[in-house]
Symmetry: C2
Subunit: 470 residues, 2 copies
Amino acid sequence: MSTPLLTLFSHHAQGGLRERLCATLRQAIAGGHLTFGQKVPSTRQLAGDLGLSRVTVEAAYAQLESEGYLQRETGRGTFVAIVMPAQTTHTTPADRPRFSTRGSAVIATGGCQDPPFPHAFAAGSPELRAFPHPLWRRLSASVQRTHGSQLMGYGDPLGYLPLRSAVADYLALSRGMHCRPEQVIILTSSQQALQLLAMMFLDPGDEVWLETPGYPGARNAFLAAGARCRGVPLDDEGAIVQCGAAKLLYLTPSHHYPTGVAMSLPRRLAWLGWAQRHGSWIIEDDYDSEFHYDDRPTPAMQGLDRHGRVITLGTFSKSLFPSLRLAWMVVPPGLAEPLGQARSVMDGHSALMPQAVTAAFLQQGHFASHLRLMRQLYRSRRDLLLAQLRPLSRWLTPITTPGGLQLTVRLKEGEEAALTALAGRNGLTLPRLSPLATDSPAQSGWILGFSALSPGEIAAGCGKLGALFR
Amino acid sequence: MSTPLLTLFSHHAQGGLRERLCATLRQAIAGGHLTFGQKVPSTRQLAGDLGLSRVTVEAAYAQLESEGYLQRETGRGTFVAIVMPAQTTHTTPADRPRFSTRGSAVIATGGCQDPPFPHAFAAGSPELRAFPHPLWRRLSASVQRTHGSQLMGYGDPLGYLPLRSAVADYLALSRGMHCRPEQVIILTSSQQALQLLAMMFLDPGDEVWLETPGYPGARNAFLAAGARCRGVPLDDEGAIVQCGAAKLLYLTPSHHYPTGVAMSLPRRLAWLGWAQRHGSWIIEDDYDSEFHYDDRPTPAMQGLDRHGRVITLGTFSKSLFPSLRLAWMVVPPGLAEPLGQARSVMDGHSALMPQAVTAAFLQQGHFASHLRLMRQLYRSRRDLLLAQLRPLSRWLTPITTPGGLQLTVRLKEGEEAALTALAGRNGLTLPRLSPLATDSPAQSGWILGFSALSPGEIAAGCGKLGALFR
């Protein structure tokens, strides 16, 4: 038996002997070690070489004959029966693949990689060490016991109805929204919600407006759909109402990302009027509305919408945990059914078990208590971060925010790139503010996530920050 | 206090009193029960009417003032401070929304609703009653204990590395594939894999070829991307090689959907040569290759590909359970990174805990034993179904399949619609064969799922089927 054959066989260490032998021979033929017309060893010889029974080798040859790799000729032996296509001399690491226009647009965004964490100041991570793990496990076990295999099959693309109901109740109570469970769609993430809306509403070249600076995940979803994104500047009442029309407007009214500005009521009404006049959609990203520290957050814009122009979305990634992969979207009546159809073409539906556990967590009141505790925890961390940054006020200016899981700090103009690089060399990965600008001058700064950091970690991070300047 | 206010208040039954009152007043203003300039009841009066303390009402008024709904004028009282946009007389159930070109294409597909099940003969459902629930629960608990909150954060858009490794090992051993863990991408479903590939490779108007009859989920994903789909007819060696070029070819070579034909080796090599000549991509859907009853399935085409033109995908929905939401895709080296970026823009990443449990299930050898048991179970059910259908052979002709979870039966031409309707009236939902045709004459028949049906359920279903004809 040839050395390549022996080597190949030893590499196929798992599985039954017959299957290992089949895999070895297939690979030898595919790899050009055995070529068309070549005689393979007799079953007796191969059995001897490999210490196998002849029955095993016979079975493998028979299978490979049925697959078309080998041909047995009575009295002559067994031969390789197929011609493999010519091997290019160097296995080309493939030509740079040609992507579609949309594909190229997606690549150009650079993707929405969420930060690996915990690492100091990664933005938007909840404190998982404070999560009520035993309670969650108990609920999971109880849901499994009660529902068993009912929750293992296929699900509704719109979501598990008890969760849709629980979310509708929560949003009515906490966010002043008007919605029935039928208007709630459960998705894997707010990113998926944005992708779905971009697919359904945006043609290439359509205009989308979004706050500048603003959330890059949303911009990426719109750019991937071929939309032209235009930045809407803000003042201390939120996004400034613009002249003209856009197909779609993306807003974070209860808490602007990343500065935390809340949009005033007159501004909200003006934007609603604008949407009604132009037949535009407003996507209201209700992100981090669960985490307001000094005041209650203003209710969602959706509660003011009388013309069905507002689509509101939020995620459980921050309020529960990121790997849960659950988010929600509330759509005007009449939109749920077509969006559900589209969702079924995108990826079917969300996993049922996590939906059922989350529904129970909400229905039994644990969500409200968990949020209460997290608000206290995060507020104390924000305050600590602000205090620790005070001595650095010559170099950086925190934008005081009423809530959220991150604090935006401004740097002197032009300093962001060099300071971020310096910080990186000192083991501090700092999310930059400047990439959040859409056709407006980039602001120099960082977005410092504090929620997942213990007091000690905040102090250590600020120590490293301070060292950059001194 | 006006009746509408009382009614509204009683509807806001959850939450703290202050929050209930705020929600009531916001809704009264938004709904036009209280209008701009109107005086609202004094705190004393409202507290009396509702049996609340004045402190609560004071707090609610203060909050609504800070939100801009109310204005308090010393000595005069509290007034509604905002003008709501004019209410259209009938709340239009919104104009029929205008969707994008892609959005309209998605709607036109009718979606990929998976069948609610179990119901007799729903296609493609595994037998969840035979799933090793206690073992899965034990593994879940052990993974939670070992990894805890490490698995609750953000994950890699390409998938959890231990699962990618376990899948690579499994595919090398069982499917004759050549892949390193870095080439494996974990997704929520094969539908998501198709959607991702359509987004990345297809421009509107691009030509996609797929078998006819063929899998409608794939066709829907391509149509949603604006592609032109062309059907490729089959014979008993599988899809017949065509002249000309296509951007992308979708195949089910190990087991054609829905007829079960396995593609011959010469045909595979010919298609690979075609793809290499034209720079086309072949999507190999390795669906149901785990469930072959009479013979081993032929290895995946990917193992024969020397030019990096084949992308292979498969799902755990059938081999484990649908609600798990895990599927895999193996891509040529160099494609994983851009596809991962695109996946991050689509929906981030897959849930980590189910990935870790599935990885353990594979690594510890449970997957192989589970599949062995399921193969025996499903084979006996397929044989029973064939036996039960024999007396109906004057009316329907089963296409004997070497594997899979469903049996395709042919009906006499033109009979499908009327018989399916009749069956529906008798409580039997039968998936039709004809919609699976892409520019070829539609075949009359049904796709009878048997895997999720106990012997008694199969007999009962066949009894109902028989009654249709007699």
